[in-house]
Amino acid sequence: MEWLIMERWSPYVVGFGIGLLSWVTFLLSDKAIGCSTAFSRTSGMIERLFRGARTEAKPYYKKFAPSVDWEWMLVVGVFIGAFLSAELSGQFQGQWVPTKWAETFGNTPFTRWIVALIGGTIMGIGARWAGGCTSGHGISGTLQLAVSSWLAVICFFIGGVATAMLMYNVLS
């Protein structure tokens, strides 16, 4: 059982595991792994607390109802799994600034928080605009050989690499 308390697994083992997980979800649930729709549904559930039925009448939430579904529970599972894994390997630790960020931009939580908030907002808009993220398009869509998903992943990486290079090389 030593693998349960290892700090890190080989990325190939992790990838193999996610590949096997996709077999299981297609076989048992007739679903593909995804993540970003759960954020839309959650956002809708929060909006509904304030605006009630008007939220459910929005065209987008007619397509993606603001409620807990299969994918939402999958995301909860990712959180629980990551927490258990971190606990078992003694890695769980509250941390505001990731190490790589601190090396380049310093150790100020406030700066990191603002930047993460901005990045998250843009990523949230983009994920829904493109109809999926690095899970739904990047893994599930590409493994089904969907043209949309291969195109999406290429754009994810063009946008991501260009932005990261700009930030880490020019701005720092």
Binding site: W23, S36, I46, A86, C133, S140
Partner: protein, 141 residues
């Protein structure tokens, strides 16, 4: 550059692809490819990429990061993504009329586009990915 996420994604795609198409051939599974268009897939993909580059997490790894205690992921990334999804739901009716359906090509897959048997695509792509992973492992890490 850190290639961990690329290695995970590519190996998941190879393993997933072979199994899922095998089960589909046996009538045990159905495919659910997403539809796409230039206006939605390309523009949305580039916007996603910019956010991904700024944040440094993708939505899935961000949830995992929260599970191991990353507070920037919880109070920055997750909150931001909920705000972003909310903004998109506001913009959606206009975008749908004007942009999202531009260059629509539907639920197209590579075997359909190339008019080939799916294994004629899967096998070369799997070999290509394996070669790419070999190159990354050998020269880039």
């Amino acid at each position: 550059m850190d290639f961990t996420v690329v290695k995970i994604m590519l190996s998941a795609v190879v393993v997933g692809k072979i199994g899922v198409h095998l089960f589909r051939g046996l009538g045990m599974a159905q495919l659910h490819p997403k539809s796409g268009s230039i206006g939605s897939t390309v523009i949305g993909g580039l916007i996603f990429g910019v956010g991904f580059g700024i944040l440094g997490y993708c939505p899935g790894t961000m949830v995992g990061a929260v599970g191991q205690g990353s507070l920037d992921a919880l109070f920055g990334g997750i909150v931001g993504m909920l705000i972003g999804a909310g903004i998109f739901s506001e913009m959606y009716p206009k975008l749908e009329r004007n942009i999202l359906n531009k260059g629509y090509f539907g639920e197209l897959t590579w075997p359909q586009l190339l008019k080939k048997n799916h294994w004629a695509v899967i096998i070369p792509v799997a070999i290509g990915i394996a070669a790419l992973l070999f190159v990354i492992d050998r020269f880039a890490s």
